[in-house]
Each structure stands twice: as C-alpha cells, then as structure tokens.
Amino acid sequence: MTPRLQLTALRKTYGSFTAVEGTDLTLGEGEFLTLLGPSGCGKTTTLRLIGGMEKPSSGRIEINGKRVDHLPSYKRDTATVFQSGALFPHLTVTENMAYGLKMRGVPSSEIPGRIARMLDVVQMGRFAARYPSGMSGGQRQRVALARAMVVEPSILLFDEPMSALDLKLKLELRSEIRRLHRELGFTAVFVTHDQSEAMTLSDRVVIMNQGRIEQSGAPVETFERPASAFVYSFLGESCQLAIDADAGRDGSLRLANAPGAGRHLLFLRPASLRRVSPGEAPNEADARVAEVEYLGGSYRLHADAPSGRLSLDLSEAPALAPGDGVTIGWDSADATWFPAP
C-alpha cells in the first residue's frame, strides 16, 4: 500500500545553516507521528516543508504516492493546527470552519452539516456564532483543531498547538486529541518539544537533533532502548558517568561488566538507582553527597562520584549532610552504554 507520506532525502538550508539534513520518513495511514526535539532541531521546518509553507532545498515529498514538493501550500491536501491557532479574527467560528471547505470546493449544501458535526465532536457547538476574540485560548485551539479536521485532509499537521496553553488546558487538549485520533482515525504529524506530549499521543516518535533524525520508533522503544546518547539524555531524567580504563581503579566504582577499551558514557535513570551498603548491589559507585532537595512527597539526593553526578529519589529524608559519603547501586540491566564522543 502506498504510504500517506513519504519523505526522501529531504533537505532545507538557509544560507550556510542547514535546518533539515537529508530526512527520510514514511508515514502510514491513520498513524500519529510526533517530531520531537529541542528548539532549532529542524522539527518545525520539517512540518512546514510537508505543509508547503517552506520550499525544500532538495529531496522529495510524496503524499499518497503523488509528488508534491513543487506544489504551493494551497494545492496540498494537508491542514495545519498552528501554534497560535491562527483563527481569522474577522470571521466567526462557523465562518472560520467554512473557510477551508469553501476553498476546497466542497458543495455549499454539505458545509453547514459538516461544520455542525465537527463542532459537536470538539464540544464547541455553542460557540458557533462567536468571534475568536470572545473565546479563551483553550477554546480557540479547539476551534483551530476543528477547522483543520473539518476539511478531512490526508495529513493533519500540528505545529506545537499546545505550547501557549497553561498546564491544565494542555492536559485537557492532549486527551482530547488522543480521543479524536481514536474516534476519527486521522493521519497526523505532530511537532513538539514536550516529551510527555509526544509519549502520550504518538504511535511513533521521531527524535530530531540538529536537522537529523536520531531515532524513530514507538514511544516505549525510544525511551527504553535509546539509540544514542542524545536520545537517552533528551528523554526523561538521566545521570551520566564518563568512564575510561582508569575509572574505578581506586575502588570507588565497582562494575559487574566493564566496557571495552576507550572512553564510554554510562547512562542511568534516577528511578533505577538506589542507596545501598557497599557490596550489596552488582554495580556500585561511592559518592559524596552534594545536595538533598525536598520535592514534595519525596527527596532527591544528588551525589558526586569521581566520574560524574548521580541523582536518585528517596521516600524518606536521608540523614545525610553535604560532604557525607554514600554508596549508590544499580542492576546491570538498567545501565546503558554509549561510546564517548
């Protein structure tokens, strides 16, 4: 079956700056894909290339097997939910939603019905006659979502649609988008720098860094089997120990299985670390307490080992002061190794 979207060696440069560097990506029908990465990683540029708001420097974009990279935005079957919502302030909610339908030549007899159904789906029916200025940020974003969905595009594009909302609204809209995807089964590319958004919403997460794809896979897979040091440290909290052949010669670091020659980075999640008595765990590091923070309900202990800082959560206040010695242990399965750059 032809994929909904196929990017081949897609590249975008601005002068000497490379925003997107040879991206290949395939998106199946009904798939919810998230482009995740820090700001400036090329995720928004990739989205804008797909939507036609930017022209690629080279490479191919195919939607439903048809090459579209030479087509302007208005000739592509995509619809975008913009970061700001970008609702037309001079049009009511209904008129905003009718806009795309009219422009796409939907018969005018069909338009009111489709709008009404979609407004019901996003539970904004009673706002039909409002102007955008008369609505809250969350309501506006729901309408923006409805306006994009009502044209039933081949691919829905989301450009960080929740970044301007407060946390409560964010969570609300997030579960709303998840529900809509389940019910309507649209195909979506979602751009965000918020990993919890990416994890909860997506079938597949694509992690980008400096214009390149670092890893692509199911959320669980990227989190539990990160392909690179960047992915590991970008997703969730991490501790990082820089280890070479000399590390632990003084006995402060006791590893069950040491890496081969050369410098390596050992990554650990705070959740898999525990405070132990020496000799109790298969892997151990002796460290000095740097700081104990109260997190509300639990305590976070930061301790400096010779090869790096380790952090872990404790349920009870440790009777430790900065400078005290502490031993931290972990299981070999929880350790992830990457060669040092």
Partner: protein, 276 residues
C-alpha cells in the same frame, strides 16, 4: 472637600482651552455669519435668516462647484486607494526597499502645490484623450490631487499591512486559498480600518486642495474652494460663509462616518465577548 488639581494639570487644561479657542473661533464666526441676514459680511450681525443657504442651493454655479468637489474627491480617493493597496502591501513585504522607496513616495508631499499645478498644466495642457481635452477635466484634477493623496494613503496603509499576522495568511493558504483569494478574503478585511482611514485621507485631501485645482480647472470643472476664492475677489456676501461652512461640514461628515464605522466594528467585536 473638592479634589485638588495639580498645577501641571491646570496648565494642561489652559493649553487645551487656548488651542481649542484658536482653532474654533474663526470657524465659529464663519458659522454665525452664514446665518446673517445682511448683504455683506460685517459685524455686528443685524438679523438672522437662512436666505444665504437658500441662495446657495438655488444657485447652479455653487451647486456645480460643490458637486465637482465631491466628484473629484471621490475620484481621487478611488485612484489613491487602488494604487496605495498594492504599493503598501509591497512595501510591507520588502524590508530592504522600504526605506528608500518610502522617501521617494513621500516626495510629492514636499513639492509646492503651485509647482505641481503648473507642471501638470504645462505637461497635459494640450493632451486630448479619446477626443476629449484632458485639461479642465475632473480626471486630470483628480490625478493631480492623487500626487498628494497617494503618499498619505500609503503611509496610513503600510503599517496595517506590516502588522498583519503572517500566520493568518499562511493559515488561509494552508486551508486551500490561492494567494489572490487569500489576499481578498484575509489580508484585505484585516486591514479594513487602515483602508477606511486611507480612503478618508485621500478624500479630504482632495476636498481641501485649492491651488492645484485653481491651475487645472475651467469654469465648468471648478471646485468649491476655487469658486470661493473667485467670489471673495468680486463680492464678499455671507454666501461665502455658507459655502465655507458646507465645505467644512462635508469634511467633518466624512471623518464622522469613518469614526462611526470604526466604533461599530469595535462594538461588534465586543458583543461577541465571553458571557460569564
């Protein structure tokens, strides 16, 4: 106890009062004179009547001049806005050319009206278009007035286009509107306030303009200011005051209409504010 007003605020009020008086006293006197029963303009006013209004509206020459003024002003407004919209849009989109072009566009404003009037008269004095002499036509006067009205219209419109939210234009394209449709359905409605102001500026500029009109009109196409001036030379009757007041009234009406339209828009937006 009455509230104490700071000296600074008093100075403010006195200044505003003096300024208002400076502007309004001559206008007020003219307005009073329009209702004089006398045959000549003189004080004190001996009797009140509407006879000079009657005379004005019964006089073909004055009516034609008033109509000419409105016609030329409307034509100037149309020409200016038709040219100003693409020009302002273009200027707002090109950051590099903007400063240079802006100076060029504003240049006609600083050329004396006498020079412009004479130049246009010399340049187009003998030109005929489709068998009609261009000189003395409303079109030529409107074109000359556009030299002044256009820079003003562009100056008013350009910031409207420059502050237009680009993401709205992108959104319309994204929803399937070609650039042209997007321009007419999104950009233009969103700069409508600037559009109304620019049209108004052009209209009033033309209505008020006297010197170019003096050089470029014939007896048939002369405007109200021109006729006013010619009449002042021959006989100073209160009819002049009537004409002057009517000219001022049409300017204020134009401003009032634009302001009313602006308020109506604001109200419409507020009506759709959230019900709490």
């Amino acid at each position: 106890m009455t509230e104490r007003v700071s000296p600074g605020l008093w100075a403010d009020r006195i200044f505003i009062g003096l300024f208002a008086a400076y502007v309004l006293i001559p206008l007020g006197i003219t307005a009073l004179m329009a209702f004089s029963d006398d045959n000549i303009i003189r004080f004190p006013i001996r009797g009140w009547s509407l006879r000079w209004f009657e005379e004005f509206f019964g006089n073909r020459r004055w009516l034609t001049a008033a109509l000419n003024s409105l016609k030329i002003a409307a034509l100037t407004a149309c020409l200016s806005i038709l040219l100003a919209v693409p020009a302002a849009y273009g200027l707002s989109r090109s950051r590099k050319a903007r400063s240079r072009l802006q100076v060029l566009l504003l240049l006609p404003l600083f050329v004396p009206a006498v020079v412009l009037g004479v130049s246009v008269a010399i340049g187009f004095g003998n030109v005929t278009l489709f068998g009609h002499a261009l000189y003395g036509s409303s079109l030529l006067v409107a074109c000359a007035h556009t030299l002044w009205a256009l820079p003003l219209a562009i100056t008013v419109l350009e910031p409207s286009f420059a502050t237009l939210d680009r993401s709205l234009v992108e959104a319309s394209g994204d929803l399937g509107a070609s650039p042209l449709r997007s321009f007419f359905t999104v950009s233009l409605p969103l700069v409508s306030t600037g559009l109304v102001s620019a049209t108004l500026f052009a209209f009033i500029t033309s209505l008020n303009e006297f010197i170019m009109a003096l050089f470029l009109t014939t007896r048939d196409s002369q405007t109200l200011p021109v006729l006013l001036w010619l009449s002042l030379r021959s006989s100073a009757t209160p009819q002049l005051a009537v004409a002057a007041i009517l000219l001022a009234a049409s300017v204020f009406t134009a401003i009032g209409l634009a302001y009313g339209w602006y308020l109506l828009r604001r109200r419409r937006k507020r009506l759709s504010a959230p019900m709490i």
